[in-house]
């Protein structure tokens, strides 16, 4: 079981390194650095900070945002990231998943899917970091889940948009439906507000990890407490 922490706006590196250290001390199992502004502005993350993180952090971490081609992915992996996550660029060019998986192996390639219900089915959304440019894709979420796996995705992060930031719990129905179709590790994202929400998503949806940002950053949930809570609920967690 892996608990992730999502970072946004890592402009102040000192803070980010400190925060990353703190989460590592608190036994977070993995960190995700997410540059929410990268895709909409058509730019890539800069890589200097990746090597600074890699030098101090000894748990796995993933970098998401603005990875548009093999060379930008390679720069980030060479800087020391364990995984790269692609979202909008995969929708614009699905062949990128194949290329990345072929070049670096599926284990490095995470596909992020932003999804919410629309007209009775779940649909994928692109450019979700920018309300002006956000758009619904014609592809249904479950179909996209099949396709990204066939193309070589090694992990799927499903961000349930209608639950994101609401803190009312993960979207169990959608995550369950995706789990049925998903043979690679599935990470739940969007909606964590209480410790019980983590227990619910692990038990009900059999996800491999749950990602959260707000509740960890705000201090509403401390990771050590969350882990002992989950242990008491009979869920296996790293001690």
């Amino acid at each position: 079981m892996v608990k992730g922490v999502r970072f946004r706006d890592h402009r102040d590196m000192g803070d980010i390194i400190e925060l990353a250290r703190r989460y590592r001390e608190e036994q977070a199992d993995e960190l995700v650095f997410y540059d929410i502004t990268a895709s909409p502005q058509g730019r890539s993350v800069d890589h200097g900070w990746v090597s600074r993180v890699a030098a101090v952090i000894d748990i796995p971490f993933c970098v998401a945002g603005g990875i548009r081609d093999v060379s930008s992915a390679e720069a980030i992996l060479n800087a020391g990231a364990d995984k790269i996550s692609i979202n909008t660029p995969a929708l614009e060019n699905p062949g990128l998943i194949d290329e990345l998986a072929h070049r670096f192996g599926s284990q490095c390639v995470v596909v992020g899917i932003d999804s919410r219900v629309s007209g009775g089915d779940w649909f994928v959304h692109a450019n979700t970091g920018d309300p002006e440019r956000m758009r619904q894709e014609p592809v249904a979420t479950l179909q996209w889940v099949d396709e990204v796996q066939a193309r070589g995705a090694g992990e799927i992060v499903l961000n349930c948009m209608s639950h994101d930031g609401v803190r009312s719990g993960y979207d169990l129905e959608q995550l369950q439906a995706v789990r049925e179709r998903c043979g690679v590790p599935l990470i739940a994202s969007g909606g964590a507000g209480a410790m019980q929400h983590f227990a619910d998503v692990f038990v009900t949806c059999r996800v491999d990890a749950a990602l959260a940002a707000t509740v960890f950053h705000s201090g509403a949930i401390a990771i050590p407490e969350l882990k002992s809570f989950l242990r008491d609920e009979g869920i296996e967690v790293r001690q």
């Binding site: 000894d58 748990i59 796995p60 670096f104 690679v184």
Partner: protein
Amino acid sequence: MSVVIVDSGGANIGSVRYALARLGVEAPMSRDSAEIRRADLVLLPGVGSATAAMERLRSARLDTVIPTLTQPVLGICLGMQLMFEHSAEGDTPCLGILEGSAQRIPRDIGQPVPHMGWNSVAKNADSRLLDGIGDGIYFYFVHSYAVPVVAATTGLCEYGSPFTAVAEQGNFFATQFHPERSGDNGARLLENFLRLGGGG
């Protein structure tokens, strides 16, 4: 004490270097057989496919050098699998140092493949790498191929079925997991290895 990391290609083997730096050891990456033979300790990491990694070792003639090394050698992840006789990944003949072969983790075990995440390791023999590290401790795994439990296995992990998580035989040591990404226990394991070179 000199430590060398074999440059077996693939991205992100730099994290092994960072992990050693955190322990106060600067280790260059090398494909030079003389430099590798001279080192007190050798690490063989690896990311990517067995076929590509073996091709890269062969092109530097390291496929004949590594099996003849006499100093402690630590294979990590794909580097561990390369130490065995064969990998089902691309039907690739490997270094043949340890008896056994890497097989694809079956898709029908009811668990996601790749096996990616923290999992616990049980000792099944005396282990110098796991010295001072408790039983059932979690390490970070990322792999789609695994070596079944074999003669050299000193630590095993369960994922569908038991597989080799730690292997030790003579001067050859190996972990399927990533000690460089396994927090304090991973650091302790790397320290145990460094101690074999007479330093720390």
